[in-house]
């Protein structure tokens, strides 16, 4: 099995016009036991969330690959600590750290006494965003976590006070439906299907985790910028971005560049910052 990974991020037209920096970030890395890719989308109305997004994404990958945390709760707890340390050391405040955490990881297996002793994959969204996988048979699964009124629960709201403030802002009722999980499945010789699941505040705050089969060939994480490409449905955007011509080197950057070029040729393009990171698993390679 041979694993490659790459990432790309690009400023959206809104931030470009207003002189704001790109508040999306993406990163990818491999180690002996696995590969992790992450994207993070900073809140536009926050502080220096371009910096915060970098910290959140880098800490996500570090937590998985340096600490061997392959369970999303362990990753969250470890990242919360890492994010706090970075925030203190860089003189940042909470408004600078309002950024989503979306990652995909593949464990090669062999990590004894671990739920990832065998090859496995995990996709996780904390906040809002999209994750996707493609199986060996070509079955494309994409999942989008969206919050009503575009008010996601950021990992930075972890403290009891911040958490309560967020809950109060969302009506205070933990059982109330405030978010949606949209599943799209297509290809692989099977019928397409769509599922829209409404989720409670309590469930949505925990984020969304999708464990994939060991025979997937692609695992990908996207910021919600893919849902704001002028004139394109998010499912078409994700499918286009996953239509890799090759999987060597900067394969995600090339695909993103070509996608953006094709968009602009038709006068369309991403309104919001856009980012993606992808893992490719070649099961046939040695």
């Amino acid at each position: 099995m041979r694993i490659t990974a790459d990432h790309a991020f690009h400023i959206g037209s809104q931030h470009l016009r207003s002189g704001m920096p790109c508040q999306d970030y993406a990163v990818s890395r491999s180690s002996g036991y696995g590969t992790c890719v992450a994207v993070s989308d900073g809140c536009s109305s926050g502080g220096k969330t371009d910096v915060g997004a970098r910290i959140v994404a880098l800490n996500s990958v570090a937590s998985v690959l340096n600490e061997w945390n392959f369970d999303e709760d362990d990753v969250d707890a470890d990242c919360d600590e890492k994010d706090s340390i970075a925030m203190d050391r860089l003189g940042l405040c909470q408004s600078d750290m309002l950024a989503t955490r979306i990652y995909a990881l593949v464990s090669k297996g062999g990590l004894a006494n671990s739920r990832f002793a065998r090859p496995n994959g995990v996709l996780h969204v904390k906040g809002d965003g999209v994750v996707a996988s493609i199986s060996r048979e070509g079955r494309l699964v994409m999942v989008r976590l969206d919050w009503d009124q575009n008010m996601p629960f950021y990992p930075a709201y972890k403290g009891p006070q911040s958490k309560q403030q967020f809950i109060d802002a969302q009506s205070g009722d933990l059982t109330r439906s405030v978010a949606s999980i949209h599943w799209h499945r297509s290809g692989g010789g099977e019928d397409s299907s769509e599922t829209l699941e409404r989720v409670s505040l309590e469930k949505a705050m925990g984020g969304f985790t999708y464990r994939t089969a060991a025979d997937d060939t692609f695992l990908a994480a996207f910021s919600d910028g893919v849902t704001q490409v002028d004139g394109m449905d998010w499912r078409d955007v994700v499918a286009e971005l996953l239509s890799f011509k090759s999987t060597e080197g900067d394969f995600v950057k090339r695909r993103m560049n070509r996608f953006l070029k094709d968009c602009l040729a038709h006068g369309k393009g991403p309104v919001d910052d856009i980012s993606m990171a992808c893992i490719h698993i070649d099961h046939e390679a040695e």
Binding site: G249, R254, R255, N257, K261
Partner: protein, 249 residues
């Protein structure tokens, strides 16, 4: 189907029994490339200044190595003369600057007549073919071709019309963001008019009369070549060709 010649270079067939080589695309690290093709006349008439001509190419290549865009250049150098089977001999295909061994240029010998049209056709055809392969793999590509000659075409299978069609194909089919072609006459003042006509008939972007093949002019030519390459590379991603560099020779 490409033939594998070594770990990192593949041979590709071009129409009319021609072929060219290029770096294995899967091994390329950048997301965008400027393809540079330099075809140099090795007919008998360049014999008096052969070593200066080789030195000019080496100087241009060395200057490109210092460019901030050097990692985004793939350079092919060939020689043309009727003494080569199929008129064109490739010294190296489209490879990164770091893999070019200047020693390969020292083996050039000048004799035979001038298959100028074949050289143009092969250079432009090879650049188009490789660019398309890159584009199909999502790479962003533009190109610049230099044909350096001291005389008119004496015998070729290709025609200016074929060359024009090949030049137009690159941008019409949109696998090249832009392609600048430069015909350079060195020690060719006597046939400058004929070369200018050929440039017009074949749709070549620019013709430069570089004057006599003396050290000074060849040094200026080397600077012109490297600056044009640098300018073309910096224009990649803008949607169009670079501003043409005025050749002060």
């Amino acid at each position: 189907m490409p033939r594998l010649d070594g770990a990192d270079v593949e041979t590709h067939a071009l129409g009319g029994n021609f072929s060219f080589t290029g770096a294995r695309i899967g091994g390329l690290g950048a997301t965008e490339y400027t393809l540079v093709d330099i075809a140099v006349d090795m007919s008998g008439s360049v014999s008096p200044f052969r070593s200066e001509l080789i030195s000019m190419i080496e100087t241009a290549i060395d200057a490109c190595r210092k460019s901030p865009r050097s990692d985004n250049l793939l350079v092919r150098v060939s020689a043309f003369s009727t003494h080569y089977p199929k008129s064109v001999s490739e010294l190296h295909g489209y490879i990164p600057l770091g893999e070019i061994d200047n020693a390969v240029y020292q083996g050039l010998r000048a004799y035979g007549a001038t298959p100028l049209y074949d050289a143009c056709y092969v250079s432009i055809g090879a650049l188009n073919a490789y660019a398309k392969m890159l584009c199909d793999q999502d790479y962003l590509v533009n190109g610049i071709t230099f044909i350096i000659t001291d005389g008119e075409n004496t015998e070729s299978g290709a025609t200016p019309t074929m060359i024009r069609k090949e030049i137009e194909r690159g941008t019409v089919e949109e696998f090249l963001e832009s392609h600048v072609s430069v015909l350079i006459g060195i020690n060719a003042t006597n046939c400058a008019q004929a070369l200018a006509s050929f440039k017009a008939d074949a749709g070549i972007t620019q013709f430069i009369d570089a004057g006599d093949a003396n050290k000074g002019n060849l040094a200026k030519l080397a600077a012109f070549v490297s600056q044009s390459i640098s300018s073309t590379s910096q224009a990649l991603g803008t949607g169009g060709p670079s501003q043409s560099i005025a050749a002060v020779i």
